[in-house]
Symmetry: C2
Subunit: 209 residues, 2 copies
């Protein structure tokens, strides 16, 4: 029997390798065999850290969720109107996800339906946070007065749920980031009014801060 080495350093190397692979080639190309070869460690060592391939993916997704949560938390602390916090929070999600928005990652929903479902649940939680900010923006007089907030509360998650599906976002002839920006532009320029509406396109396209 060989020596069992379970270390944070190897764990981190595995996760970093996975992140690079997911960004470059997506999920379907990822195998533990290939990872062992590329990282020059044994499959046994990999399985000592992560019992299954799913465990690697789940751990990685948890770290992405954590980044998004941290971003939301940081934005909430800014001394800005709710509308701006909302826009910057959404932009943060786009920025965090953009490196992974390739055709390869589009297989997540079909290859790993349980992991996909956990992301859907996470997204619902974020919608709730977004909607609280929208309510505040309404109090601040920044929401299109023709809209009814109760209907909006029901429709907006439906729209976003339906649109942020691999089948929609991963289009052969449009970049996914551009598609997601277009959805936000339509929706939020339809929802906001005045200067918030006018500043939205520029804020969305700004380089990550």
């Amino acid at each position: 029997m060989g020596t069992t080495i379970v270390s944070d350093e190897i764990r981190q190397r595995i996760l970093t390798y996975f992140e690079n692979q997911a960004q470059r080639h997506g999920l379907s190309a990822f195998t533990v065999d290939r990872m062992a070869k590329d990282l020059k460690i044994s499959k046994r060592t990999i399985y000592q850290h992560f019992p299954t391939k799913d465990a690697i993916i789940t751990t990685f997704m948890d770290s992405v969720k954590h980044r998004i949560d941290e971003h939301f938390g940081a934005m909430e602390k800014l001394d800005l109107p709710a509308s701006m916090i909302m826009i910057k929070s959404l932009k943060g999600i786009l920025d965090i996800l953009t490196p992974f928005l390739n055709q390869g990652i589009s297989d997540l929903k079909t290859l790993y339906p349980e992991i996909w479902q956990s992301l859907v649940a996470f997204r619902k939680g974020k919608f709730d946070q977004i909607f609280k900010l929208l309510r505040q923006a309404q109090t601040d007089g920044e929401i299109n007065p023709n809209l009814n907030m109760n209907r909006l509360a029901y429709l907006l998650p439906q729209i976003l749920d339906e649109l942020f599906q691999p089948e929609v976002v991963f289009h052969p002839s449009h970049a996914s980031r551009d598609m997601m920006e277009e959805v936000f532009l339509i929706l939020f320029q339809g929802i906001f009014t005045g200067s918030t509406r006018d500043s939205f396109p520029q804020l969305l396209k700004q380089q990550a801060e």
Copy 2:
């Protein structure tokens, strides 16, 4: 053997009865037995005009499509900018469909999937017409310059397809007409600019002309 009477008048009475029933009680409550009793004609007579219940529904749906086509045709002839023709065409669809937007009709998709599919195909054709008007509106400088028309051409039918599903439109605590108006308000106020954008809410709520 009784006398066979196939007449336009009876055919029309059957269709009018069906329309009233669909408006008041929806589709699941509709039976040929009940129709025969209410119209004081035999089931045999009904089946001489329409061999199946599905045939009644299909014929009725064809008449609704015909009304929508006629409305689109009439709007196209108006001497108005493309944006206005588009808005008035969409409003016409809402006005034609509003009497049927009740919980009962929401069963169409599950009870009569083939008829539903034919409506989905019809809707796609209307989207194409709407999109031609949008392209013209863009030429006229009435479209939000931050939007990319190619992406919009792809996204807009996706959004409308996903939203105009019974599961979304027939909500227990919101009127369906209000829900559909809200969707149009968000989307088209996000898409249009200037005076078109400003006049949109009022146009949508105007009484049918």
